[in-house]
Each structure stands twice: as structure tokens, then as C-alpha cells.
Symmetry: D2
Subunit: 337 residues, 4 copies
């Protein structure tokens, strides 16, 4: 941390701050400049004491210089993470996850799984428990949805990615799913993160609707520091003033996350744009920007989907997009997984 003193701070105030830093157990380094004095701090391992310092007379600001995450940082783990999931892997390739927004019934779910399997897609998304903005909207099939997912997984061999909404159902979902999804609204649901830190399955951690990269990586740190090292970050668009898409899909997060962390990062262009017609362009952009994969909404009949139909590709549209990704991956020297 660095304490920036007011231009008019007195020598006594500067002295008092230095002593306070000592009292906190750290080392002060007074740097007297022509217009103002700054005081560097060493010996601390986080922002503890920052608030006390901010409240001292003559202090203008206390600047943090280190981030709070450790295990997710590339500084402590230079190699990119990769780990096996179901019959494929995440990291070191471009992993496709596709499927309907929610498990609606056995028929459309198995239809989707068969379609995806035929194309070579190894992981299917589908929600049994759905977080819905309105209490009057379809809330998912719940346990019946899990039963369907288990059956489809057994019959087709496809890996299953599904959302966990609370601690209560975590165990049941863990039995059925290959990847446990934490939704954007739960990125900072710490009791849930603590529970999933001890889960036996990898976690797909969606970025919160207005989360900074640091907050997102700290949420991942909850999972890793609790013991779950298989974390997949997922950008799904953030909330801004822009009204031409459902959310603002922030693809620059891809090189930024790659710089800061060793964790894989995948993109959700369906929630990111909110309209199926924009999904192929953003999927190709994600691949070109270096993402580790996609999670895309696909539905056999989007017009009659119970949720998110507007942003779901139908089978022909997905197949067409899929075909366009393959040669792109080749040129980019990666592979579709």
C-alpha cells in the first residue's frame, strides 16, 4: 500500500501516519516529493489497516498495490490450468458446451443430447433449477429435471453442465453433473462457494453482472482456497448503459484473464448478446480472441422454448456455426474439444 498525504499535511501528521504503520506491524517508507509526501508500506500482505490510515488527519488516499487473490494468480502458477471433464477436457483447446437453457422434458433433452453427440460435442448444458427474475416465471423442473439429466447422460454418454442454486441441492446435483455451474447472480454467494469448494466436480463460475475482474478472481479464490482447484471462468456479459444487446459481452476479458490467472476462461455469447442472430459472430470472435471454449444455448425449437428462446440457436444454425469454427481453430492453432 502507499499512503498519499495531502499537499498541506504537516510534519506531525506525516510522523503520526508512520507511527501508525509501525503499530500495525508494517514498515513505513517516507518519500518526500516536491508537492506532497507519500509513504510506502511493506510487510503487509493485504489491505488490512487501510481504513484506519484513510481516517488519519492529512491523509488524502491509501492506494492498494497488490491484489488479494493468490491461488488463482498466474504469478504463483505460471502454467495454464487444464483438467479432464467427462470424456473431454477444459484448457488447452476450445471446449464446446451447448444445450437448452432449461430441462423442459425428457424428449427435447434427449433430442438435444443426441444432436450434440452426433456433431462431436461432449458437454451439454441444461438447467434443472432456474433463477428467474420474476416469481411468476417458469422455475425449472427441479428434481424431475435432474432425473432426466441423469438418464440422458447414461444413455448418450454426454457430459452434463447444470446450475447449482443453493447449498441444499448441491449434493444431489453433484451426483448427476460433470460440471457445476454458479450463475451470475450467485458469483458472490459465499456460503454456496464455500460448499462447492469441497465438491467433487469442476465449477463453472460465471462472472457477476457487474463484477470487476478482481472480484471475480476472488470468488474463484474462495473455491480454490477451499480445495477445489478445477475452476472454469465464464464471461456472459456485464451490465452497462448499452441497450442494443441483453448484456455487454466483454471479450477483452479473455486476454486480461489469461494475463492475470492460469484458469481457463470460456464465453457465453447467448446471454452475452441475448439474440440468436448475434451468437455466431461472437462465438467466432471468442475463439479468435483466445478463449478456452464456449457455452451456447441450443434448442430443437427455440420458438417454443420455455425460457431464453430468443437467444437460442436451432439445430441447423448451431451446426452451421460449428462448421465455421473448425477451420478457424485450425488457423489459430488450437482445436475444438
Amino acid at each position: 500500500m502507499l499512503v498519499v498525504m495531502n499537499a498541506n499535511a504537516t510534519p506531525e501528521q506525516i510522523q503520526a501516519v508512520a507511527e501508525k504503520i509501525h503499530a500495525l506491524g508494517y514498515m513505513p517508507h517516507v518519500i518526500a516529493g516536491p508537492t506532497r509526501t507519500a509513504i510506502g508500506i511493506t510487510g503487509n500482505r493485504g489491505p488490512e489497516g487501510r481504513e484506519a490510515l484513510l481516517l488519519m488527519p492529512g491523509v488524502e488516499d491509501v492506494v492498494r498495490v497488490t491484489v488479494g487473490y493468490k491461488l488463482v494468480s498466474r504469478e504463483t502458477h505460471p502454467d495454464s490450468s487444464t483438467f479432464p471433464v467427462a470424456s473431454t477436457r477444459v484448457g488447452g483447446g476450445f471446449t464446446l458446451i451447448a444445450g437448452p437453457c432449461s430441462v423442459e422434458n425428457e424428449k427435447t433433452t434427449i433430442e438435444s443430447a443426441q444432436f450434440l453427440t452426433r456433431l462431436g460435442v461432449k458437454l451439454m448444458r441444461a438447467g434443472a433449477y432456474k433463477p428467474r427474475t420474476s416469481p411468476y416465471a417458469f422455475q425449472g423442473l427441479g428434481e424431475e429435471g435432474l432425473r432426466i439429466l441423469a438418464k440422458v447422460r447414461a444413455e448418450t454418454g454426454i457430459g452434463v453442465v447444470t446450475e447449482v442454486l443453493d447449498v441444499e441441492n448441491a449434493g444431489r446435483i453433484e451426483e448427476v453433473a460433470d460440471i457445476l455451474q454458479v450463475g451470475t447472480r450467485n458469483m458472490q454467494n459465499y456460503p454456496l462457494l464455500r460448499r462447492l469448494a469441497s465438491a467433487s466436480k469442476p465449477i463453472l463460475l460465471k462472472r457477476g453482472m457487474a463484477a470487476t475482474v478482481e472480484e471475480w478472481l476472488l470468488a474463484a479464490e474462495y473455491l480454490m482456497s477451499g480445495g477445489n482447484r478445477r475452476v472454469i471462468l465464464c464471461e456472459r456479459g456485464v451490465r452497462t448503459f448499452a441497450d442494443h444487446t441483453r448484456n455487454t459481452l466483454d471479450l477483452s476479458i479473455i486476454p486480461v484473464v489469461k494475463h492475470l490467472s492460469h484458469l481457463p476462461v470460456i464465453i457465453d455469447p447467448s446471454h452475452g448478446t441475448g439474440r440468436a442472430e448475434y451468437v455466431p459472430a461472437m462465438s467466432r470472435a471468442a475463439l479468435a480472441a483466445g478463449a478456452d471454449g464456449l457455452i451456447v444455448e441450443v434448442h430443437p425449437d427455440p420458438r417454443n422454448a420455455l425460457s431464453d428462446g430468443q437467444q437460442s440457436l436451432d439445430f441447423p444454425a448451431f451446426e452451421k456455426m460449428y462448421a465455421s469454427l473448425k477451420p478457424l481453430a485450425q488457423v489459430l492453432e488450437t482445436e475444438i474439444l
Copy 2:
């Protein structure tokens, strides 16, 4: 809803949309304009079918004209809500809630309660369970914190406002608290909202960090539709590009909520600004804008607070602010509760 057709839509496309609306069980009303055709829809009670319509050829947009909340709406409940809490009430006055960010120990908690009681403040905030961005930060005293709160409440008679982080601890907290707080990160934690819908205590529902008013009122609708009619809305600042305060405190929400809903709305200037020195100005502004109260962080020794010290008023500062609110309330023809 209103379907807006593309300027180049064909008569066949318009006809198909009208038939689809019929098939959904609604009534279409075709309005042919000079540049394009629109089709009004009646008979629907929500946005169901919107996505199917959006995907039809020739459709440019489907505009929603009604909001999804009902019980929280002022249209269905013209009188402002008010209800008793502990020895005071919320609604129809300016209710003060003050206290430390977290329960740190028995001493500072009782000290705070005594200080507040002496001034006439009837409700104290203090967190036993704390949601923290970093897994390495102080996470609250938990059950020990609840024990302290129960003791302080019994000894001083002050009402207690404290945060519920998960379904698991809801019951225990319900026994101790007079108001259950749902934090900004949990505004859309629907399993938690469903649990609290059947709680025996009022809920203070903080606005999500990037929540629209509609999303916030729909979160309140989860509580009300589940049976809990005592909901207090709390604005605590939202996330924007602005970097001069911790969050951007949106005081215009006060007249807007008053227009849309009958629920009381209070302001949290501590999280809203993030710096104690800005709290008094924003507290007075909240009162002048017509808010139903405040929730403010106060600490006997902010410099040594375990959390949020930077934004906590010390006792003399709070007392001074409190003194300034009284005559203001009088001029505004309301009263400090």
C-alpha cells in the same frame, strides 16, 4: 405487448404473426402505419410468448408495456405501506437504523447500542455473518455474534437489524433479529428470498449492485407473493463508471419507488459513498428527497473497526448529523423515528 414489424415486412408475415398471437390465446390488434405495421396484443398477463414472436420473420421488436410485479405495485395498493418494528415503525416517518458494520465483540456492540438508545435511535444494525469479497477477510463472528446481539437487545431494548446470508442460518437469525437484511449480493438469491417470504420478521431488501428498479421490485415480489408483506427497500448505491465514491448513490430512486410502489424505501449513505465525510450530506439529501429512513454505519472507534471503518461515523459525528436531521424533518413535515 406490442409487436413492431420490419418496414419491409410482407402482408403474409403480418398475417402469420397475428395467427401466432391467436394461437397463444391472445388477441391481436393490427395497426398499419405509414412506414411500418405494429400489432397490439391483449389478453396476455405477462411477457409469455414474447420470444416466440421475436423469432418470427418480419418482426423487428416486441415491446413490453406492462411490468411483471403486482403485489408491490402502487397501482394495486395505492396507500403507502407502514408497519411496526420493535418499538418503532417503518413508513410514514424517517426511521433511523444505525450501528457498526459487524458485531466485533460484546463491548463495542453494547457501547453502540447504549449510545444509540440514549439518542433515541430505536434500531441497530450489526452483522454477525458478513459477505466478504476476499476469502481471507474477516467473515463475521457467526453464532457468537448472534449471541451478543441477543444479549444487547435484551439489555438495551434496541431493535436489531442483521444480515441473513443463507437458508441454513435463517431460522436462528429470525429469533434474534427484528429486521432481516438481504444484502446487495443476494438480491437475486431466489432460494433465500423464498425462505424469507415465510419469515416472521420484516425484510430489508437491499438493491442489487446493478439492479434495475424492475428487478428490485420483482425481488420484493418474491417476498410478498410468498407471504411476507413487510418489505423495506434499501438503496445502497449502484455500480457505475464513477470512481469518486465507492458506489453511485442513486437518490432519484426515492421518488421513483414512491411512484411505482407502496413499499417504504430507505437509504444507506455509508455504502453509497464509502467515506464517512460524505455521509451527513447524503443523509440530509435522502431526508429531503422523501426517503422513509436511513441505515448508517456508526462505530465507537472507526480507525480500529474490523470492516468498513472508512465509511463509519464515530459517535460525535453521528450525534452532530442526528442533530441536523431533526429541524430538517420538521420543515419537511415528517418526523425522525
Copy 3:
């Protein structure tokens, strides 16, 4: 500035950065911490050289610790600025500016001026040149509008506040107006700011739609460093995700600007909310938060206004609001000017 080195930076990299700082003519102060090294810089007077340092191997970040504005800063000018305008003053009171969005014709302009003068309002706003989002919208009366303003000013004695859109018309407007307004879209129109820096009239500088406080104060610094010391800052709402008001009116800017600068700051609740019904609440809040005044849209017949009718108060509504501000000002120990 403070250079933060990567945790894995080598001694050679640290040495190279220190030498580069020397080469830039500054002093490096190496601070070796347990996880990483930081290097404080003194002798610089701005962020020059920051980019060069950022590009050096081993550098993680270069943190700025001082802001770039000087003349507008309260550090260099501890007393709040106040200056006379027309028959009143700005600073050290609560100055009201009111009037129609645009000069529509002589009749409504003189009617507005007479109404305001009768109430005791000394300054009238009205645009002759209007910046409009659409090229097909009413663009203001231009020179004819200036002629009307000059006449109304001569006849009623009211001071005139009107917008300057370009350098070309600045001189003509300067002759007629008592305050020259720079609109939100022009806050960073530097040729215009440079021209107005030598104007003979005070400048009302609206905050840009997405401007940080630093950018806003630097725009004011353009005016002050060019010789115009009479600058009035005006918050008119910023652009965020929130959709319940036209803009998000950021009242916390009031205590923040008061902390950082000696310049007066006034509030525009009309553009800030976009709806007349929310204007009185936000006007009272602005006064309670310590603003130096208001600029409010008032129109004799808002329903037939050529622009901004939705956010304009009619005469009775303005009169009612005005009456409510007087006792509030008294309690707050300020006065309506």
C-alpha cells in the same frame, strides 16, 4: 507515481526501472516488500513517463498518486469561490436558475422572465442554439433567439444563461448572456473551452455524460488556466445502466467536489431525472446536500414545449417547489439567491 513490479521481477529489471526513472529526471525510491517490490517516484509533476515505465519488463502497474488539475483544486485555493453574476451571485448561497429549455418565441420567453422575476429568481436559462440528438429535431431559433433574449433581459432585468455550441457564435452570445453554458456533449470540446477561457462572462460547465470527476475538473482547468476564473460546475446526471430516469443524477458529487475544489457546484434535476414529477424531490435533496444552486426547466405550457416538455415544471409547480425551498434553506443556514 509508484511503479509496482511483478512478483517475479528480477533484480536487473528493478535496476533498469530505477535507471529509467533517473533518465526521466526524477528520483526513484525502491521499496522491497515480501511479495514484490515497488518504486516510488518523486520530482515529477504529472504522469509524464508513465507509459514508458509501463512498457518495461517486470513492471505490473504504474499507479498515479497525484491529480492533474491545479488551479481548480481546493489544495491550492482553500476558500470556496464566489463571484457576482447579473444582479445576484454564485457561491455562498443557493442560486436559482430557471426557465424554458429553449427560446421558442418572444411571448413565452418574456412570460417566463416575468414569472421568475416576480418570484425573485434573478437568472433565466433558455437555449437559442440547441444540440439535438436527431438532425430532424428542432435546433433552436439561433440568432433570432439571441435577439429575443437580449430584449427580455433589457426589459425585465433578469440575467441570462444560454448555451454556446461553437467558437463561431461565442462572441455574439457573450454580448447577450450573463453566464455561458457549456453543455454535457461539449465538456471535452477543447477548442471551445480554450475560446471561453478568454470570455468576459462566467462559464457554467456541465459534467459530461460519462465524465469522471477528474476529467470534469480538468475541463474546468482548461478554462481557469486560460484566464477565466469564474467557473460554475453543473451536475446533470450521468449515463448508467439505470433506466428509471433519463440520466442518473449523482448528488454525491456535491460533497466530493466541495472536498476537491473551491468552485461552486449546482444541480440540474430536470436533465438529471427527465421527468417533471421527480424534480422537486431532487431539488430539495440538492439543497440539503450542500449544492450552490439549481438550474431547472420551467415552461408556461410544458405540454406544448418544443423540447424537454416532459421534464419542465409548469409555473404553479415551480412556485410550489420554490416555496418549499425557502424554509429548508433557512434550517440549513444558507439562503436562496
Copy 4:
């Protein structure tokens, strides 16, 4: 437009609104729904009258259903625009514009032009007049910069893209430049847009820092309706809460603009990210998303650049990126221009 009545609106209020619509010269279409009545409007050609309607008793909202731009719309001009510029063209390919942030001196400018020409890049960017946030920062070489640009253009044959800050200098710049750039701060500088509407050169119109797509397209409409049909839209990142990049580069704008307009859209990854290391990933993403080109900052020695060094690629980095775009373009069935 569609008038949405309050749920409690009386028949008299509905009648009054219908009559007002008649009085405005439009046709009302009353649609009585189960919870509320809506009134469709036809015969209007824009939002005129919207505000008058919003102020009528019983009116909840007036929803606009048509956008205000016409000439830029794909509805009125289904084929994508393309036009020649210097020795290349914009539209129907992937046009590269590269070069230093500002003209610093003759040497680096000619060096840049020769480097780019050798690679096959036909257009060079470089600012002679620079809009700078601080009045104390380097403001560009001005006329001397134009002289250098003219010379470099004559000697190397490279096309020149440079920014116009004001009407005063527009003519001089028009003589030297092949494309006139309107910067993000000037997107809504309407006097400037009106001047450039009659320019003899194409305009590169950067998206405002917080501009919606509609505002951006309306700014382009100013240019087109004034007679300049050669408009290039340029996304350069918008302002959001995100702090990991200088701006948030919104690549989803590419398919959205392609849907709404026939104008070409190019991407500025340098300002969009603010750091050279993120530029190649975002450039490839822009190409994959279907953009019509790039404008990239390149500098012979970024560490000693007078502005934007941090986000400028050096020659080897640009050459490497350029090499990676070629095969990508081939797979995407477009070509680098």
C-alpha cells in the same frame, strides 16, 4: 408510438388522450386490455408529441417504436455500403488503418509510413490536432503536423486519416487527409458534424464514450442528411464500471450495426483496451466478428511516444499481428485491404 395508460385510468382520460392524438394530426387506435388500455398511434413520423402525451393524466408511458435515423438504416438501403479511399476501399473487406497516435516529428512519421507501406497497409492514422484531457498535456503539432502529413503522403503514397477538432481547421485538414476522423468526444458536436457533412472526404465517426447505437447512428445521420454519404463507423470502447481495460470494447456492436445499418464499421482495439499486449487478440476477434477493418496504434518506439505509448504496438509486434490476420481472413472468406 404507443401510449400505455395507467391501470386505474378513467374512460375520460383515455378519451382525452385519443382526442389529443387527433389534435396532433395522428390516428389513435385504442386497445383495451384486461389490466390496462394502450393506444397505438399511426400517422406520425417521429416522436413529436410524445412529451405532451406523457404529461396527460392517466398516462403511464409513451413507448417509441421507430428509430429516428433513415438514411443510415439498412431498411432503406439493404446493400452494405462500400467506397474507395486513397488507393484502397472501405467496405466489403477488412481495411487496415495503422500509425502513431500523433504526428510527433517528420522522422517517426515517415518511418511509420514506410514501414506500413512495405507491409501493404494503405492507410495511416496520425493526429496533428489532439484532444487531451489535461490542458498541460501535449496538444499535437497542429499546422506543422499537417505539413508533415502532406509531405509523407506525397512521398510514400499512403492515405492519411487524421482528426478534425473544430470547424475552423476543417478546410485545411480536408486538403491533406483522405479520411477525416471525428473523435469520441466530438460524436455529438453538431456544428462540427454539419460542417463535415459537406466535406469532400469520407468521415470516420468514432462512437461516443457512452453513446447508444441509436445516438451513434443519428450522429451519422447528421453527416448523411447533410450530403456526405461516405461514413465509416468506428467502435473504440465505451465507458463502463470495468477497470481492467481503458475502455470496454464492445465487439457485439459489429453484428448489431450490420443488422441496423448499411455503413461499414471498424474497430479501434488500441483505445478499446489501452494496452498493447491486448491489441492482437482483440484485432483477431474483430475480424472474426465481421468488422470491416481496424484502426490500430503503431509507433517505432512506443516507450518514447508523446502520447498513448502504452497502447501502441511496436513494428515487430504489428508485423506479427498482421501476419496472423491474413490466414484468418482467408478462412473467413474476406480479404485484408
